[in-house]
Amino acid sequence: MSSSANEAAARASAVSEMGRTIPTDAEVPHPEGVRWGMVVDLDRCTGCQACVVACQAENNIALNEEQRVLERRAKTWIRIERYWEGEFPNAKARFIPVLCQHCGNAPCETVCPVWATYHNNEGLNVQVYNRCIGTRFCANGCPYSVRYFNFWNPEWPEPMNNQLNPDVTVRTKGIIEKCTFCVQRINRVQVTAKTEGREIRSGEVQPACAQSCPTSALVFCDINDPESAPAQLAEAEAGRSYTLLEHFGTDPGIIYLKKVDPHAEIHEDEHAHAGAHA
């Protein structure tokens, strides 16, 4: 109430400080070029849903009213899937965050007739809303079912529209949307780095979900950068790493680290019908 414009400016944190939520490594350019990816440590993820709402907030995702959930038309670019194992008293819940895997070999891309979804040279599976004609072919092609169709125009009753992020398009009816790896954040960091005449620092880009995740189960990174902390993590945890639905050959950009359960019987292979009860 009693804050003058000057004071407000003085009170604001410097923009540049915001990126540094994770200690950064040296600025390492690497020969293969950038491939944005993520390491998801299932042993850290608790299923707390913070990432889900962070993504809704960052990316102007329409409200998922009850009717939308009932119709199975709710949109969650990242969703926490919960799988049961066993029965009481040995029942176990397993959580896994599922978002677009930004496949290197993406089945959604080949089928799009208009290049509305394509692979960019930084490893992103990009969705160009303006070109999308809404065939939903890509959604059928995606084995992870992470593409969501807009069956109607989204609405934010006044004054809720004030919260919309100006960096992110509001999607109209008739098109597909999905996780973009928060491309707007990548862009901002790239612009900042360019203005400051430097390389992007490892860990400088933080998508909303990873930023929020209390347990740091989600770590965003350039998986081509062998120096990045997550790449090293994936390397060190090679015994735990796997990619989702590997046999589809989609070459996902997301590396999952297996959950550790000291009491689990281990599924010998992916298709084993083992009831893993303690």
């Binding site: 119709e71 199975r72 038309r73 709710a74 899937e81 919960r82 799988y83 599922v98 089945p107 080949t110 089928v111 799009c112 007739p113 208009v114 290049w115 394509y118 070109r131 999308c132 004609i133 809404g134 065939t135 939903r136 072919f137 959604a139 059928n140 092609g141 084995p143 992870y144 079912s145 969501y148 169709f149 807009n150 069956f151 109607w152 125009n153 009816k173 008739g174 098109i175 597909i176 639905l245 589809f248 989609t250 298709h271």
Partner: protein
């Protein structure tokens, strides 16, 4: 073999053109009812354009349903017409003459109907219309040649163009005939322009015949390509249950099955509705039914191949899809229904000559085939999407909404209405062709020899 149609030229002209110039009362009743359906569908489409596709039964992850099923169905139906016509023309089968036009017209209208469906099913049809054409030269934004949805329009529009040409060439003499017999100057003028000055000179006849034969030869590979490409809409994806190499021939033969059946149905209707009893005979449906026995059996063989390939692969997701289709409750009912309708009932019946030559039973069995084939397409398209991968968390089902039923019903209305309208404007029997057949059948005595009245070119 079959007896050629025998009537004098005058009678043929009158009977064949009768419907073009007459206005029976039922025409208005049927036309009105069909138009009613179209209006309902129009309202649905307008609502979809204005408020998005929320009125359809689609949801995550089943994003394709009735509209795509219907698209595949009509593309399938469109196949028979041209195939029957072209093959018979190439093989110079005499009995083809009354059959070809109806078959070709059915092709055109089912194709025109089919292409509506991917269009209205897409989220932004207005963009779909121009973005599937390579127009955007300035920005280097081209369609994606890797997508079957780009192959589709190319194949379908090629097919549509050649079909229209094909029909048009065959139609020229009849247009001339209509021009000569049109009751008023306006229609005479229109038919005159359309007839492109066809006067029946020897040279004109020769060109017309050769063009017809050439187009027949060209159109056959196109027709095979079209449904193959439609099948690749599914087969090139990695969706278990869709990802099958057998799909192209399986789809083509299925298309022939449903298409030839549709031709039989239509011919029987025409026989009674347009009073063409003299031209459409038991011989015709008998021949087509024999063809159908072969086609249906090959189709069943491919269906079983699809199934066996699924099992041999022992890919769990694929096996699971089959298990769902053939064992689990809502699906097994559809599976049994379509196999019974498309094979188990009709084929054994067609073994009996009495049934093959019975208009009523042929009408019933061919309708059954298409009911079965529609369901078969549904079985191909939908269950695979309901459970795409091991992510069982997002498995979902599909329940078509009223809007989808209206649109599907309207597609039938559209085809029938198109057919009726065509028959109102032009003879639905190729009058010239039929007459040619008669002339060829006429024999004259030259001395002691009994020789054909005309020699084939």
């Amino acid at each position: 073999m079959q007896e050629p149609v025998v009537a004098d030229t005058k009678t043929s002209n009158r009977e064949l053109l009768d419907f073009v110039f007459a206005w029976p009362a039922w025409f208005f009743a049927v036309g009105g009812a069909l138009n009613g359906l179209l209006v309902a569908a129009f309202v649905v489409v307008i609502l979809m354009l204005m408020f998005g596709l929320q009125f359809l039964g689609y949801s995550h992850p089943v994003y394709w349903g009735f509209l795509i099923v219907n698209f595949v169905f009509w593309i399938g139906v469109s196949h028979a017409g041209i195939m029957v016509s072209a093959i018979l023309r190439l093989t110079q089968a005499e009995w083809r003459r009354p059959v070809t036009r109806a078959a070709e017209v059915l092709t055109i209208f089912s194709l025109l109907t089919a292409v509506q469906f991917p269009l209205i099913h897409s989220g932004r049809p207005w963009r779909t219309m121009y973005w599937t054409f390579p127009y955007d030269w300035n920005r280097g934004a081209w369609p994606n040649p890797r997508s079957p949805l780009v192959w589709d329009p190319s194949a379908i529009f090629t097919y549509l163009t050649s079909t229209i040409l094909f029909v048009y060439v065959a139609l020229l003499p009849d247009l001339a005939l209509a021009r000569d017999r049109a009751p008023n100057p306006v229609s005479r003028a229109i038919y005159g322009v359309l007839a492109m000055g066809f006067r029946g000179t020897t040279r004109q006849w020769r060109i017309q015949t050769v063009a017809g034969l050439l187009l027949s030869a060209i159109i056959l590979p196109i027709f095979v390509s079209v449904h193959s490409i439609v099948s690749w809409d599914f087969a090139v994806t990695s969706v278990p249950g869709w990802h099958n190499t057998i799909f192209a021939p399986y789809f083509v033969i299925g298309a022939v099955h449903s298409g030839v059946s549709a031709v039989v149905t239509v011919m029987i209707v025409m026989r009674y509705a347009f009073g063409l009893k003299r031209f459409i005979t038991r011989d015709h449906i008998d021949s087509l039914a024999r063809l159908l026995i072969v086609v249906a059996t090959v189709w069943l063989f491919f269906f079983l191949l699809d199934f066996f390939f699924g099992l041999y692969g022992t890919e769990p997701a694929e096996v699971d899809t089959w298990q769902r289709r053939l064992v689990e409750p809502p699906w097994v009912v559809i599976a049994i229904t379509f196999i019974i309708c498309a094979y188990i009932i009709p084929v054994p019946m067609w073994m009996f000559r009495a049934i093959r030559r019975n208009f009523f039973w042929m009408f019933v069995t061919t309708i059954l085939v298409n009911v079965g084939m529609w369901l078969e397409r549904y079985m191909v398209v939908v269950p695979a999407l309901e459970r795409k991968s091991g992510l069982t968390f997002t498995y979902g089902d599909y329940a078509p909404s009223l809007s989808e039923f209206i649109l599907v019903a309207a597609s039938f209305a559209l085809v029938i209405l198109g057919f009726l309208t065509f028959s109102k404007l032009l003879p639905i029997m190729p009058a010239a062709d039929i007459k040619e057949g008669q002339i060829l059948a006429d024999r004259i005595r030259v001395g002691r020899a009994n020789v054909p009245a005309a020699m084939r070119e």
